[in-house]
Symmetry: C2
Subunit: 299 residues, 2 copies
């Protein structure tokens, strides 16, 4: 059960994070105790025994995960993954099919088109998968999930940065220039980006860099886990809210009165908005569900 | 600790709900056992003793609620209350000062003005206080909190209904008529209203009507509590998202290009949007915080 914690760190057994060869769950009943990793030299015989027992206990618990749990796991994970990719695909379709695709500096309206695509890619698809990883990877070792979580969020950074530059440029290079940061969407977007950066910096230092002093920082990191997870979920929901206000702005600016006569493009954008709302609900559910993971407290 | 549960129903002790005279917490250390309510005739001496012990235990636990908890309680409850009333006040100020106030049928644009005010009153202020009641009322009996929760949500119903009629009327009576249900805001609003109605009907029947067969339905009601609380929070956050898209629409339709030159009205509307975002975060925190209430599992 511990392997898929939201926690990048087990609260009471930080040392387990660097075990070298935990067997895959399919081997779990067959694995002899002797195959488990040798404990560090500093570990007493009693501690070693306790750790081995801990291993066996986890694998037994893993076995007890019933059909209903697997059903919920499959539905939530599969649905969320389909919607995360679907949101990006729908944004690409909208922008390429109805808004004439992309450009950089040559055509400011086409440069703007990079903004919705890159923001959805960064804030929704990459960040969403990054959060879901702790639910998807039931059988991987936590350090791998933690690194993948960091990589997915790191991939989101250039998307968000270029997406942000794209809209700034398309405003500043327009004739006449369009002012920045006056709308609800821009205020919300700035708050979301601020939270994202704070989360990334604090998460990177606390859960990766501080592993250099693993034992000394275990309590601090354990205490930070629920805060990191809660603010992460808040950032994701704020990102969805930013997208909803941004899509509302864009579709009114672009379609004007034609929006009210149910044009195809309007329906595509509305559908994209509904997909994003469904994602906010599903990802919140996946992170908080005690069935998908019962050991992590998320405020 | 049980008194302030999100649960309208104690999970394991449903009979405690109808105790006649629980002492106020200030009396808790002084109250002699003999002052506690006489148990129903059907209760055995052993059950009676257990119930009295349960009472004393709760009051002791209540006493142990430390300064830090009271600090968190005060900050979250006071902040949320100020923002819930602030959101309504700001909406009223915006509509009366910048949009010329209200009318019914005589002036469709003034009739529209009822829509944001009544929706914020119903979906944000009344619903928000209704949710927070389970956190505010630490010392009241649960059945009172439950009834107040129902009354606050019942008060939200006419607000939402008249707010909905106001926008329908103002669209249909406009010259030329404005189509309905074409925008992201309207789709989101319909989903939010649907969830609100489902929650109210299921909540009313499950947590009040089913009390007629109190013992027989206790397990069912206990199982429903986290689902009701989760969907309630989802409805509140969806309501905030609906407000954000609605405000974006309205401010663009009304101010047009002037919005980008930072007019006073634009800043007031953006501030209202930020207050709503802060409320979504604070109310979610209040509902889920294990400090404010540790016994309720909310998915």
């Amino acid at each position: 059960m511990e392997n898929n914690s939201v926690s990048p760190m087990p609260e009471l057994a930080p040392i387990a994070e660097f075990d070298k060869t935990p067997p895959s769950p399919t081997e779990e009943t067959a694995v002899p105790m002797a195959d488990l990793p040798s404990p560090p030299k500093t570990m007493s015989a009693q501690e070693e025994k306790a750790q081995l027992e801990e291993h066996s206990r986890h694998y037994e618990e893993e076995n007890e995960w019933g059909c209903a749990n697997w059903f919920e796991y499959t539905v939530v994970v599969v649905f969320s993954s389909v919607l995360l990719l679907g949101a990006l695909a729908l944004t690409l379709f909208w922008v390429i099919y109805y808004r004439d695709g992309f450009a950089w500096r040559d055509d400011v309206s086409k440069q703007f088109n990079l903004h919705p695509v890159l923001m959805v890619a960064g804030f929704i698809t990459f960040s969403g998968f990054s959060v879901l990883l702790y639910r998807i990877c039931r059988c991987c070792r936590r350090i791998y999930v933690k690194l993948l979580h960091t990589i997915f969020h790191a991939l989101a950074i250039p998307c968000v940065a270029i997406g942000f530059l794209a809209v700034l440029d398309s405003h500043n290079l327009a004739e006449p220039p369009i002012p920045n940061f006056y709308s609800i969407h821009s205020w919300l977007g700035l708050v979301t980006m601020g939270l994202f950066v704070i989360q990334f910096v604090i998460g990177f230092f606390s859960f990766l860099v501080l592993l250099c002093c693993e034992g000394a920082t275990a309590a601090f990191r354990a205490a930070l886990v629920p805060i990191h997870a809660s603010f992460g979920l808040t950032t994701f929901v704020l990102a969805v809210a930013s997208c909803l206000t941004g899509l509302t702005e864009k579709v009114i600016f672009t379609l004007g009165n034609a929006y009210s006569s149910w044009p195809e493009e309007g329906i595509v954008v509305n559908t994209l908005a509904m997909v994003l709302v469904a994602l906010a609900i599903l990802v919140s559910f996946a992170v908080r569900s005690p069935v998908l993971h019962s050991n992590t407290k998320v405020l």
